[in-house]
Symmetry: C2
């Protein structure tokens, strides 16, 4: 006692960066006006705006995303729900999404869907924290997530197969897998193969998976026998395993694969079975991964514009979040067959 004005040892407050209030004070306006300038929604006089912008620059101010979101501002962050970032298709799609989102000033989160994880839980994790969502729903986990997502949460998705329900379609994008598979199948038939076998990726919407469908239709239309498609996984290993049983049949001369990794496994199995590619067997992949051109033999495959798809998905999301915003028309290129070494004419019957 008697000691007046004792100053407690208090840590120096960590240096906080400028807030909207600092800007307002320095510029001699209210924080609301600063907010107006930032968001550009309301009208502010030209002179005030200039002044505020100048101070913002001087103070190196940038609005705190958290506070904005908390206060109910416009959504500026997306979480991508995907199941496996190691797969080429998903990785490339993610890259396209991230690229577009960042360009638009969005921050992007990522959350991996695991088998063990209830899809609904994934949605809940988003935690109403003012986040939008993009789902990469090429596989079953993705599709299930799509179904479990509460309708009020703003979302778009990349999917494998066009939805039956037209209403949903508005917020989903897809590549024309069906036409692509049909194209690849026709190509193989044109080489003289009597039919084409198919090693499928796990289908998100079997048995009507688009790639399977395109393949089947083409064979049917051409009056060829339609062999039972083999169910593969995503990895080279599963392609390898699937092909081993398939190759027991010597009449198999052409195999279409659901992705390039499967094709890689198939080609290895073929080698081990003593089949030469493309001499005895033609193999066609799907996706045109970066490696496919350098494989031995290099892989004939269907190039898909996953990055473009990802960008488009984000474009759609923006429109959903802000219908009046700039209507950037999402553009992505059509699937394209890239012919390389792994496919060739049907071997002469012996």
């Amino acid at each position: 006692m008697g000691v007046i004005g004792h100053i407690p040892e208090r840590e120096a407050p960590r240096p906080r960066s400028a807030s909207i209030w600092d800007v307002a004070r320095v510029a001699g306006v209210s924080q609301q006006t600063v907010s107006r300038v930032i968001n550009g929604k309301d009208r502010v006089s030209e002179s005030t705006r200039a002044k505020v912008l100048q101070v913002i620059d001087e103070l190196d101010f940038r609005p705190n995303r958290l506070a904005q979101a908390l206060a109910g501002g416009p959504i500026r962050s997306v979480t991508v729900l995907t199941s496996d970032t190691a797969l080429y298709g998903a990785a490339a799609t993610l890259r396209g999404m991230e690229q577009a989102a960042r360009a638009a000033g969005f921050s992007v989160g990522i959350s991996v869907l695991e088998r063990s994880l209830d899809a609904a839980e994934a949605a809940v994790r988003l935690n109403r924290s003012g986040q939008a969502v993009m789902v990469i729903a090429f596989d079953e986990a993705g599709v299930r997530t799509l179904g479990a997502l509460p309708p009020e949460i703003p979302m778009t998705a990349t999917i494998e197969r066009p939805p039956d329900d037209h209403a949903d379609a508005a917020w989903q994008v897809w590549l024309d897998d069906r036409a692509a598979a049909a194209h690849a199948t026709r190509y193989l038939l044109s080489l003289g193969h009597s039919t084409v076998h198919y090693v499928a990726i796990p289908s998100s919407t079997s048995p009507t998976a688009q790639r399977t469908l395109g393949w089947r239709e083409t064979l049917t239309d051409a009056g060829r026998p339609v062999p039972e498609p083999l169910q593969g996984g995503w990895s080279p290993r599963s392609g390898y395993l699937a092909a081993r049983s398939l190759l027991a049949d010597p009449t198999v001369t052409a195999i279409l694969c659901g992705n390039d990794d499967l094709a890689l496994g198939v080609m290895r199995a073929a080698r081990e079975a003593g089949r030469r590619i493309p001499g005895d067997l033609s193999v066609v992949g799907f996706d045109d991964s970066p490696q496919s051109a350098y494989l031995n033999p290099s892989l004939t495959t269907v190039r898909l514009d996953f990055e473009g798809l990802g960008r488009a998905c984000f474009g759609l999301l923006r429109r959903r979040l802000d219908p009046d915003g700039p209507a950037a028309v999402p553009v992505w290129s059509e699937p394209e067959l890239i012919v390389r070494e792994s496919s060739g004419p049907r071997p002469p019957a012996r």
Copy 2:
């Protein structure tokens, strides 16, 4: 006029999920007490805690991350800074990070470092929004980012090369690339090759890149000539280009590559040059990507535990954020040479 009580057409307030206040009201306590229960820091009587927990469960309440962060709560989100999610090493590391982070209840963001993007800017994007950071600094962009990151922002990193400065090392993890490269080189020498050529990945810290170093040391120690390492990129294509010049020299019988994609390109170039693998030329890769076992020939490579590294990096981050927290000792496995078909004895001199 005369119209009293006109009720404006107002949208139904969007259904908000329970807040800490709702819980408090129902449980008959103050929100601060609820906060205490959530965070478990302060003491609350057992009966009160039970009551609150019950209400939390009933109302399906979960704390709003945004609000927590804004209010200065503990950090519960990380942003991963990486340069290319399509590369196997980075993708696998990211997966490990995401996995560990999610298990710990953290949300994970991702931000891709692009060439055009100033690394410092990347840091600023984090925007003091209560985010921690993990940097995947295998390449130059990553290392530059590391340097540009303000010291006050909590961060850990996976790096290629142990830092000179011991102080920094505390928050960084790395694989023993040097020993791994040495091992692979020794292996090739043991097969009888007179020396080993090296196609390098872009080095984040050349000329002392660890893989290069391990390779060079081994050759020097063995008294073998040390050829000039070839600078490659990350892609199969760059391996292909690098190898084309290298293969002009017929004395080259063993090539070590900085990653599996480079090796893929090298193998193709070798084929085109009429060199048989492993008959005329041995090729060893790095990383053990999922494809490497299925290539033709399958690739001898060094398996690196990127996922474990990613998990360890997150473990380190947690300790940095909360030194008193559970000290999970990060564990990841040592590099391991996987011998496959692409390497063999030195061809007899002709």
